[in-house]
């Protein structure tokens, strides 16, 4: 892949702008047999909490029109196992590791941030303040500017790692939240996380999922996500990493033109685990034909100033 794909996100430079989204690619090591995971722009690993979490009552996933709902509940192995067992393998594989962290209190977010400071091979920290599937905490940090700013500032104070904050589409005003995390010292914004949906099993006359609601992702989410990136781009100066239903080069181009400097690919990984590398190669060819770089694309859909 060529230089034209190189993507500068404040303090973080990626070889290409395609990052695999948290929760859709495990810890990346599981895919190493058939995806060259070291060549991915980056991998945002499955959300890490201080303690291991067993996850929510099943069923946890259901397919929807051009998408899916999940209520996994951030099942994960916890920070200790991740650092001692998973990180060495990720370093070996040369993965650009973005550690997605999740907590239900500011103190725990801070503790997670502090502990990853000294871990070799972590490229950036992503704060998940927008998970809709955990009752205590999670999304409530992401739906108000004040709470989002507070948690961002607290983690910023303890970490020198490039810091990205993942926003929720459920915020009343996502621009307000974006401005708040920028003011609090975030280096980048990731957007958007899933939005809560429901499927009802009409035979059982009950919601399909064990937790009744789940986070909706996939192609059906894309216009909503593109609109939000477009709006936030006009209000912040830090780079935006856009996501929501990307499954083709044209999808990704929409996000760049709306104002994303990089993108994350999520649900499409289930259909094709190597999709991010394919899209990076397609983008390379597309840019080459036009003698452009990724950076040239960012925000092109906005009216000239």
């Amino acid at each position: 892949m060529s230089q034209r794909l190189q993507t500068v996100l404040g303090p973080l430079t990626l070889e290409n702008p395609f990052i695999n989204a948290s929760g859709t690619f495990g810890y990346a090591v599981e895919y190493a047999d058939f995806v060259d995971v070291g060549r991915l722009g980056g991998v945002s690993v499955k959300g890490i909490s201080l303690d291991p979490r067993p996850g929510n009552a099943p069923p946890r996933t259901v397919e929807t029109s051009a998408g899916m709902l999940n209520s996994i509940g951030l099942a994960n192995i916890g920070i200790d196992a991740f650092i001692t067992e998973t990180m060495p393998r990720l370093r070996e594989l040369g993965v650009t590791v973005i550690v997605n962290t999740f907590a239900t209190s500011i103190e725990d977010f801070v503790e997670l941030g502090r502990r990853f400071n000294d871990v070799e091979g972590v490229a950036a920290l992503e704060l998940n303040i927008s998970c809709p599937n955990v009752h205590a905490g999670g999304m409530h940090f992401g739906v108000s500017g004040a709470a989002a700013g507070e948690v961002t500032a607290a983690v910023r104070a303890v970490t020198g790692l490039p810091l990205m904050v993942k926003l929720s589409p459920e915020a009343g005003d996502i621009c307000e939240v974006a401005r708040a995390v920028e003011a609090a010292g975030a280096d980048m914004i990731t957007m958007i996380n899933t939005i809560r949906g429901m499927v009802i099993d009409v035979d059982r006359r009950r919601p399909m999922l064990g937790q009744k609601m789940g986070g909706m992702s996939g192609p059906a989410l894309k216009p909503l996500a593109v609109r939000m990136v477009y709006e936030v781009y006009q209000q912040v100066s830090i780079p935006i990493i856009g996501m929501g239903g990307i499954g083709s080069l044209r999808d990704a181009l929409e996000f760049f033109m709306a104002g994303s400097a990089a993108v994350q690919v999520g649900t499409a990984n289930y259909a094709e685990p190597g999709i991010s590398l394919r899209l990076a190669e397609e983008l390379d060819a597309w840019l080459s034909e036009r003698d452009m770089t990724t950076a040239d694309l960012v925000g092109l859909a906005h009216d000239p100033a």
Partner: protein
């Protein structure tokens, strides 16, 4: 585990609303009975997720049995020779074949026949005498029975009595175990049937392996979508702890 672009080589229609898809790519898909693949057609963004199927055959040609029950399975069942099929696998843990003198009893319900036909063929090839118990609602829900008869003694029950004994498959299973409990049960089918078979096995003190089904996104342990609660109080993941489990890991012992 492999991620392969394959083509459908042949489609059979072994029962109404069922299709047996055979596919082949550049590489073999070596697998054991009970292991599965995630498959998806080249149909754009919807349905977005691949579907999990136990393999019926493996090697240079693989096959899966599709029952059309929703949009994804309807599309798959409508595929024809030459269509592209993306195949990801083999995945999961299959049946642990018992090599003792216990008689293998294979208990299938509906499309649960798929991994058990694979197993019956392997047992037959190894010189064993599997007994295949196959339960269904009606005569229309018994795909692949002719293939089973080539490798195993076949006992059929239907709920409406249209073929075989009328009733549930647990009735002949119970009679067989009453006669001779020196047996091992391998089963796959709807949850209710699995539970009933596990109960019969538990009361008779016969080992039993159950193959489960669950909604799945990734198929390989990363999405944590296919959780089922185990009897030890911890979640098991159908895609990588299973899909085949020792029955007591999933179903409480019958009282």
């Amino acid at each position: 585990m492999k991620y392969l672009r394959t083509r459908i080589t042949e489609v059979e229609y072994p029962a109404p609303n069922h299709a047996l898809l055979r596919f082949a790519g550049d590489e073999d898909i070596p697998a054991e009975p009970g292991e599965f693949v995630m498959i998806r057609g080249d149909w754009g963004v919807h349905p977005v997720l691949p579907r999990a199927f136990s393999l019926v055959e493996s090697g240079s040609t693989g096959s899966v049995l599709v029952k059309a029950i929703g949009e994804g399975t309807e599309r798959l069942a409508a595929m024809v020779a030459g269509d592209e099929l993306v195949v990801f696998g083999p995945l999961g843990k299959g049946y642990q074949v018992d090599t003792s003198e216990r008689r293998p009893l294979l208990v299938a319900g509906g499309v649960g026949v798929a991994p058990l036909l694979f197993l019956a063929r392997e047992l037959h090839a190894a010189g064993r005498r599997p007994l295949f118990l196959y339960g269904a609602r009606t005569a229309d829900d018994l795909p692949l029975s002719a293939e089973i008869e080539q490798v195993a003694e076949l006992v059929i029950t239907t709920e409406n009595g249209s073929v075989g004994e009328q009733g549930l498959i647990t009735a002949p299973l119970q009679r067989l175990l009453d006669e001779d409990a020196n047996a091992i049960i391998y089963t796959c089918g709807p949850d209710g049937m699995l539970h009933a078979v596990a109960d019969v096995a538990s009361r008779a003190g016969v080992p039993c392996q159950v193959a489960l089904e669950a909604p799945m996104a990734c198929g390989m342990g990363t999405c944590k979508g296919c959780a089922v609660m185990g009897t030890d109080g911890s979640y098991k993941y159908v895609c990588y702890d299973g899909p085949v489990f020792e029955a007591p890991a999933i179903f409480e012992a019958a009282s």
